[in-house]
């Protein structure tokens, strides 16, 4: 009997989440799109035949939207005659990995540091904030050049540089939120009931800061992709023939007049991913806030 009850419970929960998605069509499209991107990131490289990523100078800067060639060339070809679609798919893996890791790393580290700084205040809090100031003032390019000189260029170093330079915004935002939340009644209540500091921070305060941090993170995803683009353009990022969307955008810079698609399509995909992430985070924000959830629920639904 217990098992059946639990199974029903799980199925009902799933149904509930599904119905909340159905009530926000934009979020639904977003999550489908993102799952597709993750799929491409993992399996994409295996699905493309090598011929489309090989250099073919006769197809250099081929214009898009023509039906004269194989469908893989529908979005045109790049400066070396490689299919845009193939290159975009190949780039998904690197881009997602770099941007995803950098954002998660900076959000987590920055968020935790900001929480500690806001809650404890005092010397530690001050020290952490001054660290944020220093990081903000240190030009990311110089950091990238230095890291490059001391270590070999590589994906991991790029992630570290990008994560490090984006940390301050999370540190400062988390701290700002904590400063405000800390003064609320329920926190004083928890303290007077004897809850430990750590418990208060992570069980009570942190969840309230997450929505704002996630809003920033989803937009930061796009900034990180573009930041990586700038670094690659200056030579301290990804090395060809490895590719990311950001590198494709940077390389398309010289061709804006004669081959606008080289920079346009990768830029478009960056925008679409950022848009999806943000729509999803908006949805998440409403779902996680008990006071807002009603907007997505089917009130009066008998399948509860």
């Amino acid at each position: 009997m217990q098992l059946i009850l639990e199974k029903n419970h799980l199925v009902n929960k799933f149904r509930k989440i599904f119905s909340m998605f159905m009530n926000d069509k934009l979020a639904l499209i977003s999550i489908i799109f993102l799952i597709f991107m993750v799929f491409l990131a993992i399996f994409g490289p295996f699905l493309i035949s090598e011929s489309y990523t090989k250099m073919n100078l006769r197809l250099r800067n081929l214009e898009p939207f023509s039906f004269d060639h194989h469908f893989m060339y529908f979005l045109g070809a790049d400066a070396l005659g490689r299919s845009m679609i193939a290159r975009l798919i190949l780039a998904t893996q690197n881009t997602m990995f770099i941007a995803g890791s950098a954002v998660i790393l900076s959000m987590t580290l920055g968020g935790v540091l900001g929480l500690i700084s806001g809650y404890y205040g005092g010397r530690t809090g001050n020290l952490i904030m001054r660290m944020a100031d220093i990081i903000m003032s240190f030009p990311s390019l110089l950091l990238a050049v230095i890291v490059l000189y001391m270590f070999d260029p590589g994906l991991l170093n790029l992630v570290i540089v990008l994560a490090f330079t984006r940390m301050p915004i999370y540190m400062r935002t988390a701290r700002a939120e904590v400063l405000e939340i800390r003064e609320r009644l329920f926190v004083s209540a928890a303290i007077s009931m004897g809850a430990s500091n750590l418990r208060i921070i992570f069980k009570h305060i942190a969840p309230l800061t997450i929505p704002t941090l996630i809003t920033i993170a989803t937009l930061d995803f796009a900034f990180v992709m573009l930041g990586e683009s700038a670094l690659s353009f200056l030579g301290v990022g990804i090395q060809p023939p490895e590719v990311t969307w950001g590198l494709m955008v940077a390389q398309g810079r010289n061709y804006l007049q004669i081959a606008w698609w080289l920079a346009f399509f990768p830029g478009l995909i960056i925008m679409l991913v950022a848009l999806s992430l943000n729509l999803l985070s908006s949805w998440l924000r409403i779902v996680l806030d008990p006071r807002q959830r009603w907007r997505l629920e089917n009130i009066g639904d008998k399948s509860e």
């Binding site: 250099m55 070396l80 060809p240 023939p241 010289n254 007049q257």
Partner: protein
């Protein structure tokens, strides 16, 4: 609500106030505007051999003793009217009479000697010295009011050509490098320099030569080639000295010109497998140069057979470019492999971002073509500083086999400016060490006339056929955009100088 209105008002007022503090640079009538790629960090004429300085100063504000004719590399008079070699180690130059500097001083032998000594003063690092006179010990003295003698410790047969780099400044010029309002003898006065924004030149009415048509010239700078091209198109500028091939899409306004640059991949012959000549030959045969012309490289480029361009004394016209023969390349690679040469070893292809337009694509193309015939290549694109570390001595002891993307320019008339540094045993960027090449280089440096020319040619032939130190690519082409209201034709020297006196109005 009030706060918002107030802030909006403040911001608008600020825009107006700050905006009105700056004045735009427009040209009209007999004035022209030239847009270049970067701001000159310095305008001292002793740095005039640097292209960013030379474009503004060379032959406009200050003039040189002699001038190299861009068409054939011959040496013609400018401030010096004639010269002769009095003995093995001494040259005499006669200075043109009746010329005054912009500040009223006379151009005489004393002034010229003072200017030469200033440029060659080891206390300051004038590029004229570091690039051209670095190894030469020279003593200049005035003999007579308008004659100087230049004595060197070793024979310098090309002293007249070297003097084509020597810009002459007024004797009142400060000794230390860094003068911000240079005074020379040229057709234009250095008028203003608004840091970050523009430099203006004004026609000098006391000029000794023909009066030029342009009255005032304003130089501005924009990094982005697309913006430079756009400025000429809209009329904001009259000349965009160099634009990228992608932006040169208007045949009415755009000119292509040989810019005296030669691009190649330098091979590190000291490291296996590159120390096997079959491997080096295979690399050259693997490159489809025709396929690259008109695609990644502009249409007008010329396949290289040697590092100097055809107009340079010492160029060997009898050498043939490498054909594209991937089958033969593969065969050579197989043969080398069978003999135990480690052809599968990873070879690093060191590139430099922006060294010429489409630099990265060029390296990706080379990567693809070399991989096709069986090599294991890894691209490493770097910014200038990192790339330089690999280019010049001292080389890292623990380095592996590498190819380096490089470009060399020599528009100074003679092969001597290229050969030693690139191919002599002790050359600063040389990976080659061949006794015969070294002997011929030494011989040619001291020789004159036909003997000199032919010795250089022997060096080129040996390098091209028996040593193969490079993957040979192209003699390069640049593009300029010129507003139809003026007449200006770029030449092989356009990268280093823009002579405003040659600009005429239509």
């Amino acid at each position: 609500m009030k706060l918002k209105n107030l802030s909006f008002a403040i911001s608008t007022a600020t825009i107006m106030a700050i905006g009105s503090m700056f004045s735009p640079a427009y040209s009209a009538g007999k004035d022209i505007t030239i847009v270049i790629a970067e701001e000159p960090d310095i305008v001292d004429p002793c740095e005039a051999t640097r292209s960013v300085v030379g474009k503004i100063v060379k032959q406009n504000v200050t003039e040189t003793l002699t001038e190299i004719n861009p068409a054939d590399g011959s040496v013609t008079p400018r401030l010096a009217t004639s010269w002769k070699q009095t003995d093995n180690l001494t040259w005499e130059f006669n200075i043109r009479k009746g010329i005054k500097f912009h500040d009223g001083e006379d151009l005489n032998a004393k002034a010229v000697v003072k200017s030469i000594n200033r440029a060659l003063n080891p206390k300051y690092d004038c590029e004229i010295r570091t690039k051209f006179f670095g190894n030469i010990k020279l003593k200049a003295s005035a003999i007579g009011s308008h004659t100087i003698s230049v004595k060197t410790e070793s024979p310098q047969p090309i002293m007249p050509a070297l003097m084509g780099t020597m810009t002459i400044v007024s004797p009142n010029t400060q000794e230390a490098k860094g003068v911000r309002d240079p005074k020379g003898t040229g057709p234009y006065l250095f008028n203003t320099w608004t840091p970050g924004q523009s430099v203006t030149l004004k026609r000098f009415d006391g000029y000794w030569g023909d009066k030029p048509e342009v009255e005032n010239a304003t130089y501005v700078w924009r990094n982005e080639s697309a913006v430079r091209a756009a400025m000429v198109k809209t009329g904001e500028a009259d000349i965009a000295a160099s634009i990228g091939v992608q932006d040169a899409n208007d045949p009415k306004m755009d000119f292509s010109y040989f810019n005296s640059e030669t691009s190649r991949l330098r091979i590190d012959l000291t490291r296996a497998p590159l120390n096997d000549i079959r491997v080096r030959k295979a690399m050259n045969l693997a490159i489809d140069l025709d396929g690259l012309m008109g695609t990644i490289f502009p249409k007008g480029v010329v396949k290289m057979t040697q590092i100097v361009v055809p107009s340079i004394n010492g160029h060997n016209p009898n050498l043939k470019p490498w054909p594209y023969n991937p089958a033969e390349a593969k065969r050579l690679v197989k043969e080398a492999k069978a003999d135990g040469v480690p052809v599968d070893k990873e070879i690093v292809l060191i590139g430099r971002l922006g060294i010429y337009p489409n630099a990265t694509e060029a390296m990706e193309a080379m990567h693809a073509m070399l991989t096709e015939v069986g090599f294991n290549i890894k691209i490493k694109m770097m910014e200038t500083a990192g790339w330089l570390d690999f280019l010049s001595r001292p080389y890292a002891e623990d380095r592996g086999p590498a190819l380096q993307q490089a470009q060399h320019d020599n528009n100074n008339g003679d092969a001597v400016f290229s050969m030693f540094n690139k191919y002599a045993c002790k050359g600063a960027q040389s990976m080659t060490c061949d006794k015969q090449v070294d002997a011929w280089i030494t011989e040619a440096t001291a020789a004159t006339g036909i003997n000199r020319r032919d010795t250089w040619r022997k060096v080129q032939k040996r390098l091209h056929e028996e040593i193969v130190p490079d993957v040979q690519m192209f003699h390069m082409v640049g593009f300029s955009r010129v507003n139809p209201r003026i007449k200006f034709t770029p030449t092989i020297s356009t990268n280093s100088e823009i002579q405003i006196s040659q600009v005429k109005f239509n």
